[in-house]
C-alpha cells in the first residue's frame, strides 16, 4: 500500500505494509537512527517522534495510521532554534548520561513546551512521564527542561 506523509519537512511516499511499525520505517527505510527502540511496547519513549506536534511512540504506531501527517524526528528537530535551547540546557543540567533515552526526551520536551511554554516542575514531570531514563533519575532532565523554558522568546 502507498502511504504519504511528511518527514522532517520532506514529503515522502512509501509503498509498504500499513501494519509495519513507524519505528522500522523511520529507521530502516529513511535511516533516521536517532529514533531508538528501548522496549517495543510503548513503555519507554525512546522511539518518540512528533506526529502533527503530538508525541507518539513510533514502536506501537502502524505506519498506515500516519497517512497525511507531519512527522518530526530528532534529525529534523535538531536544526531548530528550540532544539539548541534544549540542547544547551540539557547539557548544563546534566540531563544526559548514556544518551539512549535522550532524543525521546528532547521531543517530549518540545511537545510539552509548545503547549505550555512555562511549565511548573509537576507539569514537566507529567509531560515526560511517558519516557523512561535509567541513568539520571530524571533530576537532570527535569532541570534541563526547566532551564530551556527560561530561554527568552523561543517558545
Amino acid at each position: 500500500m502507498k502511504i504519504k506523509f511528511t518527514v522532517n519537512g520532506r514529503p515522502e511516499t512509501v509503498d509498504t505494509d500499513p501494519m509495519r511499525r513507524l519505528l522500522d520505517v523511520l529507521r530502516d527505510d529513511f535511516g533516521f537512527l536517532g529514533v531508538k527502540e528501548g522496549c517495543g511496547e510503548g513503555e519507554c519513549g525512546a522511539c518518540s517522534v512528533l506526529v502533527n506536534g503530538e508525541i507518539v511512540f513510533s514502536c506501537i504506531t502502524p505506519v498506515g495510521t500516519v497517512e497525511g501527517s507531519e512527522i518530526l524526528t530528532i534529525e529534523g528537530y535538531r536544526n531548530t532554534e528550540r532544539y539548541r535551547a534544549i540542547e544547551a540546557a540539557m547539557e548544563e543540567a546534566g540531563g544526559v548520561q548514556c544518551g539512549f533515552c535522550t532524543p525521546g526526551f528532547v521531543l517530549a520536551a518540545e511537545a510539552l513546551l509548545r503547549k505550555n511554554p512555562h511549565p511548573s516542575e509537576d507539569e514537566i514531570r507529567e509531560g515526560i512521564s511517558g519516557n523512561l531514563c535509567r541513568c539520571t533519575g530524571y533530576s537532570g532532565i527535569v532541570e534541563g527542561i526547566k532551564k530551556a523554558a527560561e530561554s527568552e522568546g523561543v517558545w
Binding site: F32, L33, G34, V35, K36, E37, G38, C39, G40, E41, E43, C44, A46, T73, I74, E75, R78, E81, Y83, R84, A85, I86, E87, A88, A89, M90, E91, E92, A93, G94, V96, Q97, C98, G99, F100, C101, T102, P103, V106, I124, R125, E126, I128, S129, N131, L132, C133, R134, C135, T136, G137, Y138, S139, G140, I141, V142, E143, S151
Partner: protein, 730 residues
Amino acid sequence: MKEKKKDSTAVRGGTASTSRASISGPVPRQDAPGKISGVASYIGDLCFEGMLYARTLRSTVPRARIVSIDIPAMPEGYFVVDARDVPGKNGVHMLTDEQPFFAEERVNYVGEPILLVTGPERGKIDQILRGIRVEYEEIPPVFGEEDSKNPRIPPLFGERNLFCEYEIRRGEVEEAFFDADFVFEGCYHTGAQEHVYLEPQGTAGVFDGERVTVYGSMQCPYYVKTALVGGLGWKEDRIRVVQATTGGAFGGKEEYPSIIAGHVAFAAIKTGRPVLLVFDRAEDVVCTTKRHPSLIRMRTAVDDRGAIRGMEIDIALDGGAYVGLSPVVLQRAMFAATGVYRIPCIRVKGRVFATNSVPTGAFRGFGAPQAFFAVEMHMHSLAEKLRKDPLEFKRSYLLSMGDPTVTDGRMKQEVPLPRMIDRLCKLSGYEKKHRAYKKEKTRRGIGVSLFFHGCAFTGSGEKDKIKAKVLLKKEDDESVSILVSNVEMGQGAQTTLKKIVAETLGCGLERVRYDNPDTDRVPDSGPTVASRTVMIVGGLLAKAAGRLKRRMDEKGEVKIEERYVQPPHIEWDQDTFTGDAYPVYSWGANAVEVEVDPVTFEVRVIGVWGIYDVGTPIDERIVGGQIEGGISQGLGYATIELLQKENGRLRQKNLTDYIIPSSMDFPDPVYELFSSSYEHGPFGAKCAGELPFVGVAPAVAAAVQNAIGRPVRRLPVSPEYLFEAEHDED
C-alpha cells in the same frame, strides 16, 4: 542565546567540604552533543554492506535433555548457526568456561541459547524460528536451595549444587556466643533485579576471511576478546573487539556480551557476511543476567550490658544455572557483611547455589547491596529490641581508623561517618522526625543507612589478575590520545578521564582525545567495572600524563605507557581472605522519609537525602549524575522492582510488567559531597559509581519499619509483603 554558567548551581547537590579541588568544577560533557542530537551510533545503528540479521532459538523449559531438533529446509540465504559452528571450545570464558555458547545436549534454563537463525530479513527469520521444533526430555529441575537435598532431583552443579562456598572467621566467635546474654537473630531476603539499561544488548560480527571483528554494547572489550579466543580457538591477533556507544550497562554488560559476541562471530564466519544481533526488550529480560536474590541469616551475640560481642552471618545467593561471576559477587557481599561496624569477633559463611534459572551476575553494587540491607536492618532491629535509638546505637559501633575489617585488614584511612551523620541529620531532620513518627502512628517514617563501597577489584585482583596497562600518546598533530579499554557507558568516563589528563598536562580539554575502545588500538587497562575506572585507570593516566608533560616539547609522536603497581599499604591473602580486601573505601549515609498508604500499603517516598565521600570528585556534575541515577535505581529496587521466578520462569516479561521508576514516582534527592582525598587516586579521587545505589534500600526499609512499627525483612518492600507483615501476628 544562552550563556553557559559554570557555577555550582549547575549541580543540584552541594559540596560540604571546605576545600574544593579545582578539578571538581563541572565541564561540558564530551559525549553530550552527539547523544542529544541522535548522532551517536549505538550497536543497533550499525550497518554493514550485505549485513544479515540474526535471532536466537532459546530453551522453553528449565531443564532437559535435547532429544532432537527439527529444522525445516532453509530458504536461500538463511542459515542456522549452532554448537557445531563453534570452531574452538563451546564454553564462554569468564571465571570458568563451562557455560556453553550454544546448548548442545542439555538445556539448563529457560532462555538458554540453542541456535541462531540468520538471514537478510527479520520477519522471515522469525517465521523460520517458529517452524523449528525442539523435542525435550525434561529432567527434574533445581529451583531452590532445598532442592539440592531432594534425592529425586539430580544436582545441577557438583554434588551439592554449590558453585562456591567460603568461610571467614575473626576472633573467638564460639566463646562470644557461649557467653552471650541473648542471641538476636534475623533473616533478610532480597529479590532479583533487572538492569533495564535502556539500550537492549547487541553485537555485530564481521569476518574478512582472515580476522574477525566484533562490535558491541559492552563494558569489557578484553573480556569479550578472551572469550572469542576460546570460542574460536584462534590466536589473539586474528580477533578485534570494538565497543559501540553503549546505552547504559550497570553491570549487565560486564559478562553477558561475551556470549553474543561469540554468536555473531560464528555466524559471520559461517555465512561470510556481517551479522547483526540486537535483542528486543523481551528477549533481553528473558536471557541476560540479573541481580542475585539473597537470603542472609544474621545472629548477634549480645552481653548483659546490651553490647555486641560477636556476629554470625550466613549468606546464600541464587546463582542461576551457571557460575558466571558469582564467586566474586559473593566475596563482595561477605566483605561487607558487618557493614560499617566494629564487631569484636565474627564468622561469615557464604555460598552460591545453582538453580535452573537464568544466571545472575554483575549489577551495580555487586553483592554489597544485599549485605548492607541485611546488616543495616539487623542493627536497626537490634537497637529497637534494646530500646535504643537505631542511629545512636549504630553510631556507637562505627569503625574508625585502625579498626579491623571483616577480613582482618585495617581501616587505613579516617572514617568520616560521624561528621557525615551529623550533616545528614541536619539536612533531613532525622532525629526529630524519627521520634515523632514512632510515637504518632501517622504511617510516616524516616530511616537511615550507613554504608561503604570498597573501591576497585577485591583483594589482589588489580595486581594479580587485571594488571592494567594504559597508554597515553602525543600525536603528530600535538593532540593527546587516551588509549585504554575502559568504556563510556553513560557514567561519564570519557569526560572524566580526559579531564584528568588535561588537568595534569595543563592543557585544554579539546586537545585530549578519547575514542571508543578498539582492541587493535588500546592496551588492556581492565574491565569497566567495580567503580575502578577513575581511581585505577584514571590514576595510571595521571601518572602517564605527568611523565608526558615533561616531554611535550619533543617533536612528533611520544608514547607513554603506565602499568598498575599496587600501593604498598595493601596486604592481602586470596586463599584465606585475610588482609585488606580493598585499597580504600568510599562512604555514604542516606536518609529516606516515607508514607505508607493504610489501604493499599503502597510506600510513597517523600524525601531522600545523601552524604557521600568519594574522595575528590573529578567532576561534580558527573558524580551528581551517578548519585541521582544510583538513588533512583535503588529506590526502584527497594519498592517497585519486582522480578519473580515461578518454576524457573520469570513472571515479568518486559517493561509493561517490570516497572522501573518514572519521572513521577520519586522526589529529587538532596545530597552533598564530603571530599576527603586519597593519596593513591588521581587528584585524590576514590570510587563513585556503585556507592550511591548501595544504601538506598536499607534506608527505605528502615523508614517503612519506623512507619509501620514492624520489622521489614524483605526487598522490595512491596504492598503484598507489607500486607502480610501487617497481618502476621507474631
